[in-house]
């Protein structure tokens, strides 16, 4: 199983916002045990998906040169359960950025209805203190972004398409 909880980027505007979708299917093991008899997608994985979308939004803001980790889940509200067959449309916006961390605010919609609202805070790991080198192999991160259609939709702040990043082309 891959620890990826968004299926595809649908929009990415550098330094501003990112949108993506998550399709919930009955075939996913995570639906089996969460609420027996009432298959639903665990809200924690909605947070995780939103954190993946938001984490990439923050990391991209720094050209993937900072070690971005989810530090804190802020105020979150879940308005309705996500059921098999639902398509969750996530949208995260960059809220604040500092030299040691950043915050994003996210929303999930299902069939046009607000499904969840989530605030997330990310911290940047200091080189050498908690980590040596990148958290992902650049080649793996790049492959993951390609698999999620990132480069098909990503634009910079001037709305120009983004084709790649030096940090992701670096040799391992």
């Amino acid at each position: 199983m891959r620890w990826i909880w968004i299926d595809r980027f649908t929009e990415f505007s550098s330094g501003s916002h990112a949108c993506g979708v998550k399709n919930v299917t009955l075939g996913e093991e995570v639906l089996d045990e969460y609420c027996p008899g009432y298959p639903m997608y665990p809200p924690t994985l909605i947070i995780e998906g939103m954190a993946q979308l938001g984490g990439i939004l923050v990391a991209e803001h720094f050209s993937f040169e900072k070690h971005v980790v989810l530090a804190k889940v802020g105020k979150s509200k879940f308005h309705q359960p996500a059921r098999p067959g639902d398509q969750l449309c996530y949208e995260v916006h960059l809220d604040s950025v500092q030299d040691v961390g950043a915050t994003v605010v996210g929303k999930s919609h299902c069939e046009g209805k607000l499904q969840a609202e989530i605030g997330l805070m990310f911290a940047f790991l200091e080189e050498g203190r908690f980590t040596d080198g990148p958290l992902f192999r650049p080649v793996d991160l790049r492959s993951m972004l390609r698999a999620m259609n990132f480069f098909n939709v990503a634009v910079d702040s001037d709305r120009n398409p983004i084709s790649d990043y030096p940090a992701l082309l670096a040799a391992d």
């Binding site: 530090a71 802020g74 105020k75 809220d95 604040s96 500092q98 030299d99 961390g101 805070m121 911290a123």
Partner: protein, 128 residues
């Protein structure tokens, strides 16, 4: 227009309720951020973000967390802040009430020093 002290307190209170998941009535002026309100180190970053947004100010990292002083052997000896270190802390944090800490200035106690009142004073100093 300068904010009245009660307006500053109300916004600080709201930021702390949001960041720490505490109730309004727990956020009194005397409450310490760590001991009484349960703030952990990562919460301080969250509090900084919320205060910056609420008051439209910029909070440099070292102003609320003088780690550089508390880890500097010039200012700390055997886990205790020296007189020179205290002077530096007072210079860096004129808005904080350091009188209790000064009686026995052990570095390990510094983390539980800041109160909600100190935070309000800090914001007031930033607003000018």
């Amino acid at each position: 227009m300068a904010l009245a002290e009660e307006d500053i307190f109300a916004k600080v209170q709201e930021a702390l309720v949001d960041a720490l998941g505490v109730d309004d009535d727990e956020v009194t002026e005397d409450a310490t951020l760590v001991g009484d309100l349960g703030a952990e180190s990562i919460d301080f970053l969250d509090i900084v973000f919320k205060l910056e947004k609420a008051f439209d100010i910029t909070i440099p990292r070292e102003e609320l967390s003088p780690e550089d002083i508390l880890t500097n052997s010039q200012y700390v000896q055997d886990g205790v802040v020296t007189a020179e270190g205290m002077a530096e802390l007072k210079r860096r944090m004129p808005w904080a009430d350091l009188s209790e800490f000064e009686k026995n200035p052990r570095v390990q106690d510094f983390g539980n020093l800041l109160t909600v009142r100190d935070l309000c004073s800090y914001v007031k100093s930033k607003l000018g």
